[in-house]
């Protein structure tokens, strides 16, 4: 298969960003504070790409993708927490501060291994993947579709949020995990480490895009579209819609976990609010804003939304919800294909589906 022009362009732009931003930063043109911010956007973008894989391609609207992201983040957070060692407030080498002051005597079993970075990274992929496998396996086998699926994913993330709130769970309760110091010997507050994470995030984003693109090009990609269109019809052709959806869901959850793992060191905290249903809805908003089912739409949407929030909450702290609200409304009304519809006039690469289909699968 040959790489398509838009994809090549996107990858080239990403590579350019990965190189140019650090260079400009070195020259003092891009101030330091923007680096982790851009890194954060890249993580959101990867998360949106992950959601688009199941929602855009397979028509499975997960309203719980924030959970996979957060789990990846917690896996990384646990590693960072273990790395603090005796540098915590209470100077306990074995226990994170929050456990010390809640009188915990020893580290719970599920914390073991997280002092090893590769293990933590593996868990950042495996745990979300496993959760997606179990939940998706159950749900797709029971032929739960449309809003019913959306709601159980929402219930999942909501339940996880409440669970992680509980101090008894051993994940730091409402405050979550924070006060990180270093990773693999690099200080997190060091600008160099920041740049490194930024580049990693952009590379991961590029990888995610390449992966979804390759999937979309394969016959499996077309099967996914068929699942989105008329899942039941597809079964009569002998394809297991269950397996197709499950594969996409698990893959997507792992990508989301990766995004979370990259996000946490750059943001410096992970806590249960990442599991909140509203956060997951916002991911869907990013995808829809940029253009669902398109390759780079989710990236555009994520960066636009996160960027607009960063910018507007600074310059118009009292009015930004109006501006953002208006943006959402105008995009829906004027750009049915999302923001990317703006850039590709007429020569629509992928045609829109006829209206009836969407109502059937989702209403």
């Amino acid at each position: 298969m040959t790489l398509s022009r838009p994809l090549l362009l996107t990858l080239a732009v990403l590579a350019g960003i990965a190189v140019l931003v650090p260079v400009l930063n070195g020259m003092g043109i891009i101030p330091n504070y923007l680096i982790p911010l851009f890194g954060k956007y890249a993580c959101y973008a990867l998360l949106a790409v992950a959601l688009n894989l199941v929602w855009g391609q397979c028509g499975v609207l997960s309203l719980g993708h924030g959970a996979f992201f957060a789990l990846g983040g917690y896996a990384m957070g646990m590693h960072l927490m273990r790395n603090i060692g005796t540098r915590g407030s209470y100077g306990n080498a074995n226990l994170p501060d929050f456990m010390v002051f809640l009188n915990w005597k020893e580290l719970p079993w599920y914390w073991s291994g997280f002092d090893i970075l590769p293990f933590a990274l593996l868990m950042a992929l495996v745990v979300p993947g496993l959760l997606a496998f179990v939940l998706g396996g159950l749900a797709f086998r029971s032929r739960i579709t449309g809003v019913y699926l959306s709601i159980i994913t929402q219930a999942m993330t909501y339940a996880l949020m409440l669970a992680f709130f509980r101090n008894e769970m051993g994940f730091g309760g409402n405050n979550g995990l924070t006060d990180f110091k270093d990773i693999a010997g690099f200080e997190l507050s060091n600008p160099g480490t920041r740049v490194g994470f930024f580049i990693l995030s952009v590379l991961a984003l590029g990888g995610g895009l390449l992966l979804t693109w390759a999937l979309g090009q394969s016959k499996l990609g077309r099967v996914m579209v068929a699942v989105r269109d008329a899942e039941s019809r597809l079964r009569f052709l002998g394809y297991s819609a269950t397996n197709v959806k499950l594969a996409a869901f698990v893959l997507s959850a792992m990508l989301a976990g990766l995004a979370g793992a990259l996000y946490v060191p750059q943001v410096g905290i992970i806590n249960p609010s990442e599991f909140s249903p509203a956060n997951s809805i916002e991911i869907a908003i990013m995808v829809a804003l940029g253009g669902r089912g398109t390759l780079i739409g989710p990236v555009v949407g994520a960066v636009t939304l996160a960027g607009a929030k960063s910018w507007l909450t600074g310059i118009a702290p009292d009015l930004w919800p109006f501006a953002l609200g208006a943006l959402f409304i105008l995009v829906t009304l004027l750009l049915p294909k999302g923001l990317v519809g703006l850039k590709l006039p007429k020569r629509a690469a992928k045609p829109v589906e006829p209206t009836a289909v969407e109502e059937k699968t989702h209403a």
Binding site: A139, V147, Y148, A163, A278, A288, F322, A326, I329, T332
Partner: protein, 520 residues
Amino acid sequence: MRLLSLIFGLLMLIQPAFAQSADDAYRQLATGGFTERASAIETLAASGHPKVLPILKALSDGNLQATDAGALVIDGKDALTGAAVTDSAAPIPLNNRVRSVLRGAMGRLALFDSDPAARTAAVEAIQASPTPDSIPLLRTALAAETVPAIKERIESTLAIVELNDPDPARRIAAVKNLGEQATPRAQGLLRTRLAAEENPQVKTAIDTALASIDTRLSFVYFGLNIFQGLSLGSVLLLAACGLAITFGVMGVINMAHGEMIMIGAYTTYVVQQVFRTYLPPSFLDWYLPVAVPAAFLVAGAIGIAIERGIIRFLYGRALETLLATWGVSLALQQAVRSIFGAPNKEVANPTWMTGGMEIVAGQVVTWNRLVIILFAVAVVAGLAAIMRFSAMGLQMRAVTQNRPMASAMGIRTGRVDALTFGLGSGIAGIAGVALSQIGNVSPNLGQAYIVDSFMVVVFGGVGSLWGTIAGALSLGLVNKLLEPMAGAMLGKILVLVIIILFIQRRPRGLFALKGRSVES
């Protein structure tokens, strides 16, 4: 006769507290700290002085003032002499301790009031914290009492005190009495007594009494639990009802649903303020019946505006409505924040919705929740009638099932869409009226209900009003039955897990349609 026994009773009370003279007590009341004030009240109450009751009453109502010089003042007149007072006087502050002493003292004075209601209140006041001192007084009152209900109350109060009587026979009688009361209080008192009791006969009596209390209380608690579950269910139902229309029937993923509820609550607030500002206080209790239609109209009108301005361009693009209505929701929240400010607004229960009805044993069914349950029933019945029996209802369903075909049948789809969305929004507004009666009125109000609302509608089965009802009530009940066992936090997690598992069994909700019609 009555007066005689009154004096007799009071005299018995006076004995221990004669150390201070009434004058000292008045001064202490005026200038002392809380501790002095409490003992001054006891002394005064015991003195039997005729001026005491009005003074204590004024104190309890916050009308008693004191000058720096120590004079007591009521309405600008000296409380003792009746002379006009010119010195500046400040209200005498109370704290909980003084308040409860005051209540007890006034209760004792009112035990012999001619008004049975006053006597009931008096016994209750004593019952709240009975002391051995009150035994003689209660005995006297019991002898003089003619109303059986009050008699019973006095006896049960006596039992509380006599539970620790040195005489075992008295104790057993007290235990019997308490055993019949079946209140958690009796339960607690008996348990405490049991721990200290040595007499085996009394012990068995306590055991029997406790056993009977336990069984009876468990029924009471279960019943109360069911009520609480129904109440939570009715709240969920009200919150979800509008969404059952805008999302369930129309298929709009209406993220601004919560804001319609909020707008209903703010409308209630405004109506209340209008009543407070422009109408005499006696009308204030009736602001709520006005708020209901007002909230329906305001939220409905905003809903129609949203439908005509945005939603109508999105039919057939169900998922896009998610994005647009999320935008609407952001803007509406901020608009309310700009107009009314971010902090909570106070919406008071009307008097007829304040407090509750004590069923048994201090367990209360609150009026506001009871009213809300009934209100939910009324709203749902009305809605069901509209959807089922009116031409409008049929047209709504036809339009949402096949818009082009409906228009080919002569149905003005635009009008129907606008009215349907308006109806859903209006009902959400009505829900806001109800929610303002139990929760806070703030710009975030809607956000608190949006997730639950979607959950209820989907869990019940999208498009089925019965499903929404069953979904709301069952989630409410399950939640409230789990909560006492698991706690609020774990209870809620469990409910979510149950939802996830239940949908596996019924992938299209509780009241799923079956058959071919679903696929078409």
